[in-house]
Symmetry: C2
Subunit: 695 residues, 2 copies
Amino acid sequence: MAERAGKAGAIASGATGPGAIAPGAAGPGDGRIRAVIDSLSPTVDGGRFPAKRIAGESVRIEAHCFADGHDKLRVTMRWGARGKSESPTHETDMAAQGNDVWTAEFTPPAPGRYRCEFSAWVDHFESWRKELERREELADIRVALQVGAALARETAARAEGSDAANLADWASLLSDRAKDESAASSDAAALKALALDPARASLVARYPDTRFAALSSLEISVDRKRAGFSSWYELFPRSAAPDPTRHGDFKDVEARLPYVAEMGFDVLYFPPIQPIGRVNRKGVNNALEAKPGDVGSPWAIGSAEGGHKQILPALGSLEDFKRLNARARSLGMEIALDIAFQCAPDHPYVSEHPDWFKHRPDDSVQYAENPPKKYQDIYPFDFETDDWRALWEELKSVIEFWIGQDVRIFRVDNPHTKAFPFWEWVIGEIRSATPDAIFLAEAFTRPKVMHRLAKLGFTQSYTYFTWRNTKRELTEYFAELARGPGTQYFRPNVWPNTPDILQETLQSGLRAVFAARLILAATLSANYGIYGPTFELMESAPREAGSEEYLNSEKYQLRHWSLDRPDSLRSLIARMNRVRRENAALQSDRSLTFCPVDNEYLIAYRKSDAATGNIVLTVVNLDPHHVQSGWVELDLAPLGFEPGRPFQVHDLLSDQRYQWRDGRNFVMLDPARLPAHVFLLRRHLRSEHDFDYFV
Amino acid sequence: MAERAGKAGAIASGATGPGAIAPGAAGPGDGRIRAVIDSLSPTVDGGRFPAKRIAGESVRIEAHCFADGHDKLRVTMRWGARGKSESPTHETDMAAQGNDVWTAEFTPPAPGRYRCEFSAWVDHFESWRKELERREELADIRVALQVGAALARETAARAEGSDAANLADWASLLSDRAKDESAASSDAAALKALALDPARASLVARYPDTRFAALSSLEISVDRKRAGFSSWYELFPRSAAPDPTRHGDFKDVEARLPYVAEMGFDVLYFPPIQPIGRVNRKGVNNALEAKPGDVGSPWAIGSAEGGHKQILPALGSLEDFKRLNARARSLGMEIALDIAFQCAPDHPYVSEHPDWFKHRPDDSVQYAENPPKKYQDIYPFDFETDDWRALWEELKSVIEFWIGQDVRIFRVDNPHTKAFPFWEWVIGEIRSATPDAIFLAEAFTRPKVMHRLAKLGFTQSYTYFTWRNTKRELTEYFAELARGPGTQYFRPNVWPNTPDILQETLQSGLRAVFAARLILAATLSANYGIYGPTFELMESAPREAGSEEYLNSEKYQLRHWSLDRPDSLRSLIARMNRVRRENAALQSDRSLTFCPVDNEYLIAYRKSDAATGNIVLTVVNLDPHHVQSGWVELDLAPLGFEPGRPFQVHDLLSDQRYQWRDGRNFVMLDPARLPAHVFLLRRHLRSEHDFDYFV
C-alpha cells in the first residue's frame, strides 16, 4: 500500500525541522494528521503487487485504523476500476469491527484493475457527540452546546445550498439555547436531545473536515470467473485427422469439438499453431535430425511461411481458425493458444532482427543449450539486447494479434526463461486494454520463481501436483496452496499429465491410477487440465525407462487416436466435470480442509461454498491395487452441522447415498471399481425413501 | 524495502510503451534488469519501518534473489551507519543458501540507524564458467574460450592498473589458444583448465558488470545493549528523606543509591521532577481540592517556578541532579526521567503559547476530560494547533535539555495521547544526534496502538504482563511477544506494579505472590522493572475495593518507607538480578520456549543463549497457598542434549542441584518457602561431589 500521511519522508531525507515533514506528504497540514492507517489487506508484499479476485465476488477489505487519544475516527474507502478517470468513483464508510479493525466490502462488477483509496480522520463532531452523551451537569452541557454550535458553523461553511442554511440555523439554535438561562432552557435532558439530534448528525456527516485525513491505497487485480474455475483439455490439432495418414487441421478439430465438449471441458488448449522451423528440425522421438516428412516440434516456431502471427499452412487458414474458435465458443468452450517466445533458426525475426539474439564468436546465432545438452532448433531471445524496447513491443503485438482473432486465454511457455520485468509490463499492458485476458504460466521451476511470476500478473500457474502422489505429499502441498502466502495471488492449475510429463505413476497404465489422478486434480483444484487424448486413453509408455517423455510423442510426430475405445475414461471425465459445474464448493480453493483418515492410502478432504451452502467431501484410494477402508473423521460443527444428527452423503460419481453423522464414518474403496467417492453432503434428508443405509 | 528495479512505475502511471518503464527506475537499462530481489528480511510492514537490533550482535539478512533462466547470480550487500555519507561503507557478497535464499551477516558496532543496500545481477562470467565446466567436445570448448576471451576483454576495460593489463593478456591467451588448432593446443582438459583458472576468476569478480543490477535496500535501527536487557527501579525522590516529616530531595536519593544498586538494578527511574502546578492541584488520594501543604501530582507539570526544563526546587538544584546522576553512573546505574508532555494550568507555556492548547467557548483552556471524569489539573497540548511546528520543536528541545544533563533513558508518559507523526519525528531526530537514547513507551492501551508506537521508534514498551496471571494467560501472551509479528520491533518491558497499577493479585499482600510476580517478570522478559519501595515492601492496600490505585499513593503525597523491614523482598530481588546478569539466556527474549507441566498451577519455560551455551529453565508455582508438584517435560534435543543422558539442574535461587534427564522430571514447589526454581542447566557434571540426587 502507499501510505502517504505520516510517512517519515523528512526523517529519511535527513531533514532537521518538523516543517520538513511536509514535502513527502499530502499537504502542509501533515504534522496534524493524527489518524493512522497501519495495515491494509489484501495486499501482496506490502502493496508492491495487487491481490487477485474474481469479478462479481465480494472483496473484503481490512485496515487497522486509529488515532491518538480517545477521539472517534471516521474511515472511508473509495473504489473504482482504474481507467481513464484517476479517481475511484464509489465511496463507502468503513465499519469499525473492534480492536481497531475496520472493514469494507465491494463487488467489482467486471474484470480489470481496481484501486481502493482510504481516508481516516479524527471526527470532531462525532467525538463531541460521544462526550456529550456522557455529560451529566447542566453547566457542562451548556458549554458543550456552544462547542457544538461552533462545529456546526464550520460544517455549514463547507456545505452546499440548503444544507448550509440548515446547519447555520442549527448552530444559532444551539448557541442561543446554550446561553438562555431561563428555566425553560434548563432541562439538561432536553438540551442534550437537541444537540444529539441524529438527523443533524447525518447532515454534518455529509460535510466532513478531511484536511488532516491520513491517506492510503491498494490495488486489486480482478479477473473473470473462468480465471478462478476452469477445466482445460490440451490436444495437438495435427493429430486430429480421422485418417491416420493425414496431417490433421482445424476442420478436423472442429469435428472433434463435440467430443471435448461432451467431456465437459471449457478451455481447449493447442500447442503452438504457427509455422514450424525447417532448419535443425527435430525428428521422431526427438531425434537430432529429422527425416523427410517429419513434422517437427510446434515449439520451434517460424519458417519461410511466417512467424508468431502466422498459422502453419497444414493446419489451415486464419479464417479456418476463426471459424473453429467461434464454433468452440458456441459449445461453451474457449480456445487457448500457446505463447512460446522463441524462434526456429529460419524464423523471419532471425534475419530481420539479428540483434534480438545472442551471437557466438563466429557470428552464428546462439541456440538454446544447457551443456552438454543442445537445442539447435531453438533460438532464445536475448532480453539484454540494446533493442529491448522494440523486442518488447513486437512480442506484445504477437499477443495483441491473437486477441484480435478473438483469443482470450494464453498458456505461456517457459515464462521463467524470459526477463521478469517484461512479463509485468506486457501482462499489464494487455490486461489494461483487454481485462478478460487470462495467462497461464507454464513454469515448473523453483518455488520463488513460480511465485514471482504469479505476483507479476500471471492469472494461473502450473503446479507441482504432477509429482505429488502420496497422501502426505498431496496434503502438505495443497494445504500450502490453500493457506500459504500465495493465497492472494497464486492460482493453481493442476495437471496429471502434459506433453512433457508422463509422470512415473501413470507409466503403470493402471486405470485406477488415471482415475484417481483425474479425480484428485478435479476436486483439489478449481482449475485443472489434462493432455488428451493420451490421458483418457491411458497412454503410458515412456520413451525410455526413467524418462517422463512419452514414447512416440506428439511433440515430434503425428498420432492417431481411437477415441471410442471401450476402456476410455471419457465418461468418468464427463461425470467429474459435470459434478464440478453443479457444485460451487469445487469452484474455488480457499475452503479446502483435509479430514483425517486412519489409512495412509486414503485421502479425504472437503470444500464448501458459503454462498450456496454446498459442501463436497472427496475420499480417494491412492492404492491402485487393493481395496482400502478406514474411518474418516469429520468436524462439521464449523459448517453448522449439529453433532450427532445424521445427514446424507450422496456419491455424485456412483449416485449411491449413505447416512452419516458428524464424527467418524466408515469408507471402503475398491480401485477395481472406482477409487473415489465425491460426496455431496445433504444436511436434511428428503424422505425416508431417498437414501440407503450403508451396512 | 525500496525495490527499485523492475518496479512497475510504467504500469502505475498508465504509460503505454516499454520505454516508459525507465523513469521510475535506476537507469535507461531497466528493461534488461533480469535479476530480482523478491523479499528482504528483517523488515517491518514491507520496509515502512526498520527492524530493531542490538549493537555488537550479529544481524542476519535474508533476501530471495533469482533471475530468469539458468544463469548464475551474484548478490552483494553494502551496509553502514546512516550519517553524513549517504553511501554505506562496507560491502560483502551474499551467500546462496539454496531455494533462491541468499544471506549475509553483519555486526553493527555502535547504536544508530543502519542502511543495507542490495545489488543482484546476472553474472555472465560465472555463468560462462558453469557451462564450460560441463562442456565435453573440443569444438565447443574452443568456442567457449573465445566467448571467455571477450568477457575478459570487457572486464579489462572496467579494471584498473595492472589488473587491466593482466586481464587483457589473459584474454589474448584464451583467444590465441582457441584458434590454435595444433596438436599441442587440442587437449580439451588443458584448455578447460586454462579457462577455469580460479585466480583469473577471482580477478574478474573484482570488476563486475553491474549495469543491469536490481537494487533494493532496508534499514535497521540499532540500539545499545541496555535497550535489550535492563532492570528498572522506580522511586519517588520526594519520598526518599529519612525523616518522615521532610520532603525528600536529590541528596536523599543519593544516599538511597547503594540500596538500589545492591538490589542489582541498572535503571533508576523517577516520575517527573519538574515544578508541580498549584492551580487545581489534586490532594491526597486524588482529592479534587488540595489542602495546604499537599504536594500535588508530579505529572501536573509547571508552575511559576518553571516548566519542563526546570526542577522542582524542593528536590534540589540542577547541580544536585547532575551530581546524583554522576553518582548513579558510578554505581552502574543510569537515571531515567519521565517525559510527560502536558501542563498544569500555571505552566509558563499556557500563557506564553495559548495557541498550543484547545480553548473552550469562554476562552478558558480546555482541561483533560473523559466525561464525566475531569482532570482540571492537566491541560493537554493540542497537536492540531496551527503552530504545531513550533510546538514540536519546543517539545524536542525538552528532551534535548535533559540529554544535555547526561540523561539517556526516558520513560514517556501516555505517548498514545499525542499525535503519532510527532513521535516518529522526534525520536528520529533525537536518536540521529544521540543514538544511545532509549525511549520506553508507557502506553497500556489497545494492541495495535501499542505496536504502532513501537514501530514509530520507541525502544521499549510497557506490556499487559501486569494483568496476565494464570498459566494460560502468561503462556499465550509471552508466546505472542516472543514469536508474533512484533518480534522485529516490539521490546517488552514488564512490570508487576506501577504507581498507577496495584494489580488485584498483589492486593492479597501475600509474599508468595510478590515473589512469583518478580521472578516471572525477571525471567520471562529481558527488560523488567518494579515500582519500589512499594514492591519489595509488599504494599498491598488499594484506595478502595475494586480499585487498582494504591491507598495513600505517592502520586499525591509524601510517603516514608521502612526499608530495613525484615520481610522485605530486597535480598530475593538482589539474587534474581544477579542471576540475570550472570546468565546470558535471560538477557534476550527470542529463545523463550514453554515446557509442558501436568499441573495448571505450575508454569515452566526455558531460555537459551546460542553464543555461550547458557540455558536457564524457570518453574513457577502460581498458587500462593499450596505446595504444587508435577512433571516437567523437556525436549532438549534441539539444544544438543543427548536423550537419556543425565545432566545437572542447579537452582540459582536456592543453590540446590538435582540430576535430571531429557524427558519428564519431577518438581515440587512450596510457596511458603520459594515459589520458583530458576535452574541453570549444566550439560556435563563436573564431579561426583558437585551435585545431589533429588529423592
